[in-house]
Symmetry: C2
Subunit: 381 residues, 2 copies
């Protein structure tokens, strides 16, 4: 695969980063990161045919994903799968130049098999539908980029991994944080020894959920705030530590008994993780308040903070406590993270390489989620 | 007690607060707080004789306390108790105009009984010595302002409460956060409904402890980072919630096995609290990294953050997530918190009122600490 556009690509990423008083240090660091992290420095060559994706489920997150693909040279929406073909289907088909013959329903999903313009699917469905539409896509020979959480149980995750392996297709879980420049910079700083040996973390993420949505039902959500938002800091910590947690404590709670939102799952869950090396984390997540995502990362020589960590835009990384000097925010609209993950998966397909966040990454999160729910005394399903 | 100096006192406090773009809102709020919170609006009348304190233990924290008293009109250091009478004793006696006859050692401590210039003691000793020197002070008829943690077990706390009650003296635990303007402003905002119903908290505090100090020994510290620094966010949360936690989870860990610092206690402890109303907290503390103190406070209509929360200077309170608008930092040097708590206790003595943070406050923290250590599987002593 030609690499001639890599410097240009790198410049684009650098421009996303706000210039500040530490800009020179930052630029050097980012340039280094770009040369070391494959997903970050991928060439977006015009000489390579874009990967055609079918977007399955046309809700909010698929809307962003489709807009993101339109900004890439390597990912192109070529088909749609929706329960509303006449409205949403035709609207998005017109927006992205998709022939009406490539609008599918859940009943006609199997016909995707014969659409040669579709090499991969993007699964933007409710959690409990991820397994079925992933397995069936694999059986049709399509690669799968599946939203997080990967599914609603580790057993389902294993079925998805097995199906993709059996079909010889790639499976990537859409952990957008792994492809985001500011989070990559945090990883690079940690790996460079800037804060010494990792010791512990605090973090959280949550929002005040409106009633009457699929994520508040056991049938579609499969679990509560842990599966949807608590997974963010937990996944990032697993990634940064590079180990799997082996001990868990948790407490679940519901304060709002009036609205009926939490009839089927917990409102809030606070939990701790412990890794084999002794690194620990204290974390919270909720559907009951707007709990801005954050991660505090402590080493024995300094601490980092990521504020606004898990929204679609603008994570802000800075040193706290004086041990390390960094202050950077990623610029870009809400499509950026999705653009980067789409480009990564397209590149993996074209170069036949393993995604950085394969199905096993989703499985490990789900195993941790099950252990946390068990510790809380709340069954996952 | 004359109240004529109250407006002047209030002005002084207001000047401590940094002026910023929300200064008007802030000033109004603080003025309101000053009229509602007795400890905050106490007159420092020159017409009232200052309370004479004996400082017991002349380490770092007593040094700050003595400097703080020198700035008040209601608290005066009139005696010293030290193992180094010829060096530290004479030095501080000269600094604060204390006669050399009022320098005591631990062997001559009982002679304090006959010193009419001493109405109260400030216990700035290692944790495991708090009980003995509090009980003996009470038996000499002296009021007691004791540093946190109150002692090293709930049984000791009860002995201290009983001894002070039997002797008819007041007992206050030096929880300086309860007297600090920015933390009081957080409490006021919560009570005003600014963030809606309280839901959950995240917080932490810790530092990278130098080896060979009393707090790293079981004999003098009585426990690890939880007793010394984890107590800060936990105590503040108990205070803000106004309930006692009833469920606890915890995980203890030690990463540093090389330095020998953690031979007798945990390095890091992450834990959760749950209150009867369903409010929860996820917290961390450590002696193994510089973990800046923070508290994130979530209501169902907004969230507050206190950064730099537990150092001696400059807590910074601000809204996060858009639900509430506040941005304030207390100005003042490291004596301010101590000055405010000394003035509060002096006022309680002069007006025969109960301190806001009596022995029972320390006992409740110790009961929680014991429950957390039990949950972690680590014995407290």
């Amino acid at each position: 695969m030609p690499d001639s556009t890599a410097p240009q690509r790198q410049d684009t990423l650098l421009r996303m980063v706000r210039m500040d008083r530490r800009s020179f240090t930052r630029l050097s660091a980012l340039a280094l990161a770009a040369t070391r992290v494959p997903s970050f420095a991928q060439p977006a060559s015009t000489a390579v045919k874009p990967v055609g994706y079918a977007a399955i489920g046309l809700g909010t997150i698929s809307d962003i994903f489709m807009r993101a693909c339109a900004k890439t040279q390597t990912a192109k929406i070529t088909a749609l799968v929706t329960g509303h073909p006449e409205t949403k289907g035709k609207k998005y088909a017109a927006m992205y130049g998709i022939p009406e013959s490539s609008i599918y329903t859940y009943e006609t999903y199997e016909r995707l098999r014969d659409n040669k313009d579709v090499e991969a699917v993007y699964v933007g469905l409710p959690n409990s539908m991820h397994r079925e539409y992933t397995v069936r896509a694999a059986q049709m020979g399509k690669h799968v980029l599946c939203e997080k959480p990967m599914a609603i149980s580790s057993a389902e995750c294993r079925q998805m991994i097995d199906a993709c392996r059996a079909a010889g297709v790639k499976l990537m879980i859409a952990y957008r944080i792994h492809y985001e420049p500011t989070h990559l910079e945090a990883q690079r700083l940690i790996q460079s020894g800037a804060i010494g040996d990792l010791q512990s973390f605090e973090g959280a993420f949550g929002f005040n959920a409106k009633p009457n949505q699929w994520r508040l039902t056991k049938q579609f959500g499969g679990g509560g705030s842990l599966m949807d938002v608590g997974i963010y800091p937990m996944n990032e910590i697993r990634w940064l530590v590079g180990e799997e947690p082996t001990a868990f404590t948790a407490v679940a709670t519901t304060r709002d008994h009036a609205s009926g939102r939490f009839a089927e799952m917990e409102q809030t869950l606070d939990f701790t993780l412990k890794f084999p090396s002794g690194i620990t984390a204290a974390l919270g997540c909720t559907y009951g308040s707007d709990m801005p995502g954050f991660l505090r990362i402590h080493g024995d020589r300094g601490s980092l903070m990521i504020e606004n960590a898990y929204n679609y835009t603008g994570p802000h990384l800075f040193g706290i406590g004086g041990g390390v000097h960094v202050d950077t925010t990623t610029q870009g609209d809400q499509t950026l993270h999705f653009q980067l993950e789409a480009e990564h998966f397209s590149n993996c397909i074209r170069t036949n390489t393993q995604p950085k966040t394969p199905g096993e990454e989703g499985l490990h999160d789900m195993l941790a989620i099950e252990a946390i729910y068990k510790a809380a005394g709340t069954p996952i399903a």
